[in-house]
């Protein structure tokens, strides 16, 4: 009797607890990038093909979603012939570290290394942001790009995989 009462009470407690947060659903699988989204800087301007010099890097958000923490990305201009499948020298990656979620904020253009300042994971910008060293366990997701006739660099769709640190439902 006692056990049944306690059990019933526990069951009832599940009801309010379940509204502590929304269902995760697919939230972690998608960002705000869409096919055709322009790359917007924090100051509101958009990235054009002619903007970046070789070795340059810029932090960008999907058009109209400045400050969206999941979507933050970086676009890099690689030297000619460097960077797998670079589009006119441009590659773009998620800026959220796949280790513990810090922004991958350091870039050494000389050897195309992206470094996370929190736990020093190093990613190879010339090779799909593969992990070179450090505690990260997978590459930074790559943002597909297209360049229109108007000269604006645009996303060619969302990241093909979830951004940021891993989680159970992440394949």
């Amino acid at each position: 009797m006692m056990i049944a009462a306690v059990g019933l009470f526990g069951l009832a407690a599940l009801f309010p607890i379940s509204s502590l947060g929304p269902e995760p659903d697919g939230t972690l699988f998608h960002t705000k990038w869409r096919r055709g989204s322009r790359l917007q800087r924090l100051d509101g301007t958009f990235v054009k093909q002619s903007d970046l010099n070789v070795g340059a890097i810029e932090t960008v958000f999907p058009e109209g979603n400045l400050d969206d923490a999941q979507s933050v990305a970086m676009i890099l201009r690689m030297p000619d012939g460097v960077g797998r499948d670079a589009l006119n020298g441009y590659v773009a990656y998620s800026k959220v570290c796949t280790h513990a979620g810090c922004p991958v904020a350091l870039y050494r253009a000389a050897d195309h290394k992206l470094v996370c300042p929190c736990h020093q994971s190093v990613f190879d910008a010339a090779n799909d942001a593969a992990v070179l060293s450090g505690p990260a366990d997978h590459a930074l997701p790559r943002l597909p790009l297209q360049i229109g006739d108007d000269g604006f660099v645009r996303a060619d769709g969302d990241f093909p995989e979830p951004v940021g640190p891993g989680f159970w439902e992440h394949a």
Binding site: I17, L20, G21, P22, E23, P24, T27, L28, L42, T59, D67, A69, Q70, V72, K95, V96, H99, A100, G101, C102, P103, A105, L106, C116, P117, C118, H119, Q120, V131, S133, G134, P135, A136, D137, H138, G164, P165, G166, F167, W168, E169, H170, A171
Partner: protein, 454 residues
Amino acid sequence: MIARLLDWTDERLGSSHFIHKALRKAFPDHWSFMLGEINFYCFLVLIATGTFLALWYVPSTNEIVYNGPYALLRGVKMSEAFESVMRISFQVNAGLLIRQIHHWAANVFLAAIVVHMCRIFFTGSFRKPRDINWVVGVLLFFTAMFEGFSGYSIPDDLLSGMGLRIAVSILQSVPFVGTYAMFWLLGGAFPSTLMLQRLFTLHVYIMPILLLGGISVHMMILWRQKHAQFPGPRHTERNVVGSPLFPNYIVKTLALLFGVLGVLTMLGAFVQINPVWIWGPYRSDLAITPAQPDWYVGWLEGALRIGPHWAIHMFGHMVPSVFWPGLVLPFIIMVVLVSYPFVEAFVTGDRAEHNLLDRPREKPARTALGVAFFVFMAGLFLAGADDLEARYTNLPLEGLVWFYRLFCIFGPMLAFAVTYALAGGLKARGGVHEAPRVRLTRKAEGGFSEDEIP
């Protein structure tokens, strides 16, 4: 007057018998027995200063534009939470002082807990019957760590936001329930609009109540079991030799209270801590480098840096590598600490009650184990600042990572061997040499004679 007041309460509560007995309760004299009280006084300071801060802090992620007296951040977008911390620091009278004392008290609180635990461990104070209080103490330590971290996370400055992001990534890594745990804790994906509200509730209601309850139980058990003492003349397993609570011990402990208050106030007044206006508000695309957490999270930071990158992929699911250093390791450490008294009792077969303490050298194996554990934790802690060490020594970071990995495996072994040998050697040289006790007798002609008492 006082007598009449006492009579008045006694007639209603019948308390004079208890108070009378309590005031005469004996406490053994040794400086190291006062260490735990530093924790308690830090806790009192944390509650007092924290209550003051809570009068102004706003747990809101609403974005506003700063327009306060700190010119360098004027016009910068920030959360209401960060703005309220700026207001506490620059506009509230004594706000910055209280904020700094609060932060310092948290750091000293955790440090004093560690020192207190070392005293308990190396003197064997955790043995039956005090094993139960050891368990309470270990759980208090971990609660205090979480309490500290939740407080560190709520100013919403750049440094705290990075720390919170890392903590959430660790939570998210739990198999099966990680994503749900994150969504339930924060009320959505990081950085959610509810997250500061949730952390603030944890920091000022839930965790402090757990701490207060835990500390009460801790002290009630201490009171009930009486304090352990070092061996000495007339000291036995069945008595307590020391000074009475009143007046001796009250005076000592009040002096300690004022000492702790003084040191914390001096630290808050003269040593800058967490200048959030320099870090600026949290933004997901920015990071500070180098960035280190408060000292008591340093070992976890180090574990994340040198931990193995073993991500497991199976059946369309993933266990990310942060799971091992971020959750499995702390869990193992907690289990090891909680179970140590029982494991030692099982291994040595010693299930007797112990009210007389050991000198560390008398138990070489235990002392060596403790030092080995300490060296392991120190290795993790130092690894948490490997980027700084690489910068100042010009050593390659990769090399330092490997150094600390090996250090955390072989360092404890070496420490165990060295400590065991040293303690064993000291033990062989003999214990405490008591001066021979003599009876002095004055002779009729004025001289003295000494007769040794066996």
